[in-house]
Amino acid sequence: MEKIVIVIIEDQREVLEAIARDLATFEDTFMIEECDSADEAGELMETLDSEGDYVALIISDHIMPGKSGVDFLIEMNEDPRFESTKKILLTGLATHQDTINAINNAAIDRYIEKPWNQTNLINYVKELITDYILKKGIDYTPYVHHLNQTTLLNKLRNNP
């Protein structure tokens, strides 16, 4: 069966661990993949895609050695295969220009500043995954306990 995957990209190992730990609640239903560079994430995306998995969400840091998070997200945004994938930029160090770039060219769905708040992060993840599942036409019933009920009901009302 295809998995629904959340990809986290963060070069700082401790921070990566911390994000993953904060999202561990999702792990019983969704697959959480951790990457310490955008390049690694790029390869992972290829693998996931070829296995037919759904990459529902990418949570990326911005400033990392190698490819920056915004550049990576722009790449993903321009790839028709990951057109519906939701994107969160989670960063403490993004310039004004980076942010503009992220919004205009990477079409990020959320911008979260470090340090983040776990409750907010979980809520955003829920909302975005709900959105993704409905948009993709995946049967939402097995995931319903991890979905944002308001988003779910609103979307279903408009598009049952």
């Binding site: 295809e2 070829s50 296995e51 037919g52 028709p80 295969r81 409905l134 948009k135 993709k136 036409g137 995946i138 049967d139």
Partner: protein, 475 residues
């Protein structure tokens, strides 16, 4: 400005409606046909309305189709408005409402639905793109051969997928590559022209390639029945010949310099269980279509198999079903309903009998009908063209003795159906043309020059094909 253009639109609709209403209100005896019944009279008005609406498009063409079906239900069916019903020979025959409604789920429609499911699953699991990648690789990077490869692939895909979807996919692969050439250079125009041309022509190859083909099947009943495989046995060679001619023409008009073109398509074949099911189902369906003489299931029955498979395995989801081009299906339904009305009320036979076709040469009739079909298709939707012409032509085929020697209604129906795919000249002729024109690489005159020439060559090929079919006693 908005209100003014709205007003214009309303006026246009009213003006267009005026004609059929006027025809409907005239006393039946004024009609230039003897012994016309009331229902036949109503069908004439309806046909005129359909023709005007489809040609001038005051409302979307699929809306016109639904309008036809509803009007038939209201004024021409046994469950229509009670005051509009009558008795006796003068009044004529009312149609069964069930029959009219059944046009929306006619076997033709379901054949197309099956085709949509196949195409959708192929696109979703990137079979199309991956096939394109594999098929294109032997063509190297000399531009003329790459173009040949692209045209072949486009034609093959458009035999099973909608011409529009195929064009969109191929252009999306091509446009970024073209950007590397000097703007306005001939190579860009040539490549942008080749795709819609191949897609339009490719549609001729199978019954599900384009709606006119399927509509033609509708009128080929009983002894005239053509199986999927039979259609392909003449359709595919026709496509190949037309394709090669258009390729030569494009190269003649836009000679390629010694350059290289590198079309790199990313990706690899998906190997997930679902993807494998899609591949297998695709192959199985096509095989079943081609081997009906062994298993006895006709094309329509086979078409339902992929629908069931894809839905069972959740390959086509609820969300995907919503994306099916219902407009295309309903456009065809309207045409079938119109044909039904012409046939059931007896109007078609009545008109054909009234016109002294018998004195005309059968060759001339076929040539004229095909030419009219091609001409109309250049200015309006190919499907609408077939919707309007095929019912009349079908009646003509059965009632014209001279035609029998040439193969009867089969030959003229095929002639018109194939010609309806020769709308190649203008951006408005077909959606693939419109898409290619929208890339900005092509000017209308480029398209018209090639399109008009190809249209006449195409007509010539249609006549050649019909002659050969006659020679091998197919028709």
């Amino acid at each position: 400005m908005g209100s003014q253009s709205d007003l214009k639109k309303v006026l246009k609709i009213v003006a267009i409606l005026l004609v059929p209403i006027l025809i409907a209100l005239l006393p039946t005896s004024w009609m230039p046909l003897e012994n016309l019944t009331t229902t036949e009279h109503r069908v004439i008005a309806l046909f005129v309305m359909a023709a005007l609406f489809w040609i001038l498009e005051p409302i979307p063409i699929y809306a016109t189709s639904i309008l036809i079906i509803v009007l038939e239900l209201v004024v021409l069916s046994d469950k229509g408005i009670v005051w509009l019903k009558g008795e006796g020979d003068d009044f004529g025959i009312l149609m069964s409402y069930k029959e009219i409604m059944a046009t929306m789920a006619s076997p033709i429609i379901l054949l197309f639905l099956g085709g949509f499911f196949l195409a959708m699953a192929a696109t979703k699991y990137r079979l199309d793109q991956n096939l394109a990648r594999v098929l294109l690789s032997p063509f190297g990077n000399k531009p003329q051969w790459v173009m040949m490869g692209l045209m072949l692939i486009t034609a093959i895909f458009s035999m099973f997928m909608s011409n529009t979807a195929t064009t969109a996919m191929m252009l999306s692969l091509l446009v970024p590559v073209l950007a590397s050439f000097e703007s306005g250079s001939k190579i860009r125009t040539a490549f942008a022209l080749s795709i819609p041309m191949a897609a339009n022509i490719g549609g001729i190859g199978t019954p599900i390639g384009t709606p006119p083909n399927a509509l033609a099947l509708k009128y080929l009943n009983g002894s005239d029945y053509i199986s999927f495989g039979q259609w392909m046995s003449f359709g595919v060679p026709f496509v190949l010949v037309a394709l090669i001619i258009s390729w030569v023409l494009i190269l003649f008009f836009y000679p390629m310099k010694n350059i290289e073109i590198n079309l790199s398509i990313k990706g690899k074949f998906l190997k997930t269980p679902k993807a494998l099911i899609v591949y297998a189902t695709f192959i199985l369906t096509v095989l079943l279509w081609l081997t009906d003489f062994i298993h006895g299931m006709n094309s329509y029955v086979v078409a339902m198999i992929p629908v069931a498979v894809f839905l069972s395995f959740n390959i086509i989801t609820k969300e995907d079903i919503k994306k099916i081009s219902w407009d295309v299906l309903w456009l065809v339904s309207g045409g079938i309903a119109l044909g039904l009305a012409l046939d059931k009320t007896g109007l078609a036979a009545h008109i054909i009998n009234a016109i002294p076709f018998g004195e005309l040469s059968a060759y001339l009739v076929i040539a004229l009908a095909s030419f009219v079909a091609a001409l109309m298709a250049n200015f309006m939707s190919n499907t609408a063209t077939a919707n309007l012409l095929l019912p009349l032509i079908a009646a003509l085929g059965t009632s014209m003795p001279a035609l029998q020697d040439l193969g009867g209604s089969k030959v003229i129906i095929l002639g018109v159906a194939l010609s309806a795919s020769l709308g190649l000249a203008l951006p408005i002729s077909t959606p693939p043309n419109a898409l290619a024109h929208a890339t900005g690489e092509i000017e209308t005159k480029d398209m018209a020059k090639l399109g008009v020439i190809m249209c006449f060559i195409g007509l010539g090929l249609v006549f050649l094909l019909l002659t050969i079919l006659k020679l091998v006693n197919f028709v």
